[in-house]
């Protein structure tokens, strides 16, 4: 049975007399996290957009499985000042959900208390969590996350990545992730594609970090196997910042 949700086959995008990205092939299947890494301007977002069919490839083919639910967390999104929009309206933007579903989704990303807040009053990190909540609420088959944790505080970043993993397990969706956090990429994803205008190297994380192309781009001193500094939290925060007194970890 072919479980692949999205397939790019030797795709490229040609704009203003140059190739933004060329010769990209990738496949995202159910229950799998595929990550794109690469320097700025290497074509990560362009590749993501081809996988969503927002951009039609100028060469190669993009195939998206029919009748699947897709969620997209774009890299940049700005809400016009003239739009009165609460968090709940934003979650309902593309698909209408039950209030309980919205509460759940906002709860997962830790901003349940902001459900009736005007979107423009949210901080950058809170807005990022809202984008994520909206994407989760749809229970997508295919989820594209373009730098989903930018502007999120450090502990929140780890928590959100954990959430992403949990979502994959829970709803068994396929994820295409663009991330700069190499530690997370290498420790938590199934397949890594390293882009720089073309595919430099790709494979499972443990093989990619040994690839010469990868070392050229990111240097050899980043050893993802070095565990990141673990801040041993002995308590748990509630979404509003106060300390949760009934902490099971204690």
């Amino acid at each position: 049975m072919n479980k692949s949700l999205v397939e790019l086959n030797n795709c490229g995008v040609f704009r203003n007399e140059k190739w933004l990205v060329r010769g990209v092939s990738l496949k995202v299947s159910q229950g799998e996290i595929v990550t794109l890494i690469g320097p700025n301007g290497s074509g990560k977002s362009t590749t993501a957009k081809m996988s969503l069919d927002i951009l039609k490839p100028d060469e190669g083919t993009n195939t998206i499985k029919k009748d699947i639910r897709i969620s997209y967390v774009p890299q940049k999104i700005s809400i016009d000042w003239s739009l009165p929009l609460r968090s709940i309206d934003f979650v309902n933007l593309v698909t209408k959900h039950k209030t309980s579903e919205i509460n759940d989704a906002l709860g997962i990303t830790g901003i349940q208390h902001l459900i009736n807040e005007d979107v423009r009053n949210l901080s950058g990190g809170e807005f990022q969590r809202l984008l994520m909540a909206r994407a989760i609420a749809k229970e997508p088959h295919f989820l594209v996350l373009d730098e989903p944790v930018q502007g999120v505080d450090y502990s929140g970043e780890i928590a959100l990545y954990k959430t992403i993993q949990e979502i994959v397990k829970k709803i068994n969706c396929g994820i295409l992730l663009i991330s700069h956090n190499l530690h997370v990429v290498m420790s938590q994803t199934d397949y890594v594609i390293c882009l720089n205008g073309h595919v430099c190297c790709s494979g499972i994380p443990s093989s990619v970090i040994k690839d010469q192309e990868y070392i050229k781009l990111f240097g050899s001193n980043i050893d993802p196997t070095l565990s990141l500094y673990k801040h041993n939290h002995d308590h748990h925060h509630l979404p509003d910042g106060s300390i949760d007194k009934v902490d099971k970890n204690k």
Binding site: L52, I77, D80, S82, P84, L93, V94, D118, V144
Partner: protein, 273 residues
């Protein structure tokens, strides 16, 4: 009952205000106020064609408006010019063509003032029917395309990525604006229609916290402006279209008063005492 020109005026004005409310909100959200102006300017060409060929005014204006709107979509794809430059190009060139034709076809007598500022007191029963039937169609279509149109307004790529037909919704929305401008020519005129689209919506923005609220309140403010404007213009014998807009502006100024803040601070003072 529709024999009375005042009743016809009220019927036409109220019908128009109900449609311009939600459409005006989208025009503000999408920063399209200049687009409304462009379509309205090009309406003159439609008027000249209607008079020259002895054709229904509203349909002729609608056809020209659609043509201009489609030309804009075409130019956006073909050139690298920013939207406001393209709109300026279209607005004034089509206006110029209309004026040239008007000069050549010297047998046409167009009431320019009526065209620019409208004359709601002269609408006939056909015009009223056009407003209500056309307006109902516009409203129903707008409700049908609300979700994709609104999602595309918030973020085009997100709407497209998640399977909404954003391009189609945008194109339909353009046609809706063209229809409303065609319908409104006789009522408020080409110079003032953008005002009727924008001022009630702008006032409504100050009062609402959700998009649907803003669309509904905008219609209500438009309706109040039309009713008060018509009455005021009869008392003072002032031109009706401009009076309606002046009233709308008055409502806008009223909405600037921060009622909520005043109420809250009063409560605070009471609490302190």
């Amino acid at each position: 009952m529709f024999d009375d020109f005042i009743i016809r005026a009220f019927a036409a004005g109220i019908g128009l205000a109900l449609i311009t409310g939600p459409l005006g909100c989208f025009i503000i959200w999408r920063r399209l106020s200049y687009f409304g102006d462009t379509i309205a300017h090009s309406a003159l060409l439609g008027v000249v064609i209607a008079y020259a060929m002895n054709f229904n005014l509203i349909i002729a204006v609608f056809a020209v408006s659609c043509f201009v709107a489609l030309s804009l979509l075409f130019l956006q794809k073909r050139t690298n010019l920013p939207d406001d430059a393209l709109l300026g190009l279209l607005a004034h060139s089509v206006l110029a063509i209309g004026l040239v034709l008007l000069g050549i076809l010297s047998f046409i007598r167009v009431d320019l003032m009526g065209l620019l500022f409208g004359d709601i007191l002269s609408v006939n029963i056909t015009d009223v029917l056009f407003v209500w039937v056309g307006g109902s169609i516009v409203l129903i279509v707008l409700i049908l395309i609300w979700r994709p149109l609104f999602a595309a307004t918030v973020n085009l790529e997100l709407a497209k990525a998640e399977g909404l037909n954003a391009d189609l919704a945008n194109a339909i929305f353009t046609i809706l604006i063209a229809s409303v401008i065609a319908i409104s020519i006789k009522i408020v005129g080409i110079l003032l229609i953008t005002g009727l689209l924008i001022i009630p919506a702008a006032a409504s923005r100050n009062l609402s916290s959700t998009p649907i609220q803003m669309a509904i309140i905008s219609s209500v403010i438009g309706l109040v402006s039309v009713v008060l404007g018509l009455q005021t213009s009869m008392i003072w014998n002032s031109p009706t279209g401009p009076t309606i807009l002046a009233i709308a502006l008055g409502v806008f100024i009223l909405t600037l008063i921060p009622l909520k803040k005043l109420l809250i601070s009063k409560k605070k003072i009471e609490l302190l005492n």
